[in-house]
Symmetry: C2
Subunit: 153 residues, 2 copies
DNA sequence: TCTTGACTTAAAGCCAAGTTCAAGTGGGAA
DNA sequence: TTCCCACTTGAACTTGGCTTTAAGTCAAGA
């Protein structure tokens, strides 16, 4: 099954200009034309899904191009491709960890402002985490793992 | 305890020019000077940690400034600050979900290239996921939840 | 035949988030 | 005094990832 750029745009949520940009950047090797117009197939659509993942794992366009170039080299590049995927996997695990940290901080802050709202002031945290009630201390310690003591605000 | 820009740079990992940029953008309200030089205190260092979290939750500089402005308004802004934190918390949960999706894809690809390496070709996936061994199918289905059938590459 | 709509290109433009640069200041040590 | 070092400023520059623009092509339908 073949698709026009407009169809692929709807299928992937990427704008036509983004698709042209990706093509120009070499992210879609082997993309054909018919009467000057780009012809996409299911393989390209699948590639675009992989590209989105690689992008959100932190790869830049130029590195994604390198990967796509590898895919054109067949079995000679399996080892390199595997290595790249493993590196991105471990980077993604780290990113998830960081997001969990961010989340912990946000959850502490949600609790904090909830408490501030019901107290009318922030005095309860004047000497955080020591001065906090159990729930607050727990959230605080998850949010700031290294801080064992002290702290205003 | 007071700190110079260089000390804060070491404490936070942010470059001096980033700290100056944040100051200029209004992210550090109430930052004082002594003989023209910026004087940071522990409150500013704590603010910088919060700023990093807000940034990684997806907030832009201009929105972080708005939040920092709210903190100067005392109890009158608790509700708004709480709302902002709750919104960022839910955005962060979504982002973590997306990262888990990305991770699932990368784990499938790791398995895939491992398999390709030991087979010397990609034929095992010619009709994925149907043609895949149990482990591969499981990873595939986590990586592409909507795809119930078909697929080369 | 004429219009319409979806496509094409190269080049320029845009935005966020810094970074770099050039020129200058202030204070302590040799 | 002279030197150095860490700091200051405003302005220009950089980077990545698109998006916009201007001008043009092509095929189908009225």
């Amino acid at each position: 099954m073949d698709y026009s750029i407009g169809e692929v745009s709807k299928m992937t949520g990427l704008s036509p200009s983004t698709l042209r940009f990706y093509d120009k950047e070499g992210l879609l090797p082997g993309l054909g034309r018919q009467g000057g117009k780009r012809i996409f197939d299911d393989g390209h659509v699948r590639s675009l899904r992989v590209i989105e993942c690689l992008k959100s794992s932190g790869l830049e366009i130029r590195d994604i191009r390198k990967f796509m170039d590898l895919t054109t080299k067949g079995s000679a590049s399996y080892a390199q491709r595997k290595e790249l995927m493993e590196e991105q996997r471990s980077k993604t695990l780290e990113q998830i960890d960081e997001m969990q940290q961010t989340l912990a901080m946000l959850e502490y802050k949600c609790w904090y402002y909830d408490e501030a709202l019901s107290c009318g002031n922030e005095d309860f945290a004047a000497d955080a985490p020591a001065s906090l009630p159990a729930r607050g201390r727990e959230l605080y310690e998850r949010a700031f793992p290294r801080d064992e003591e002290e702290g205003t605000r």
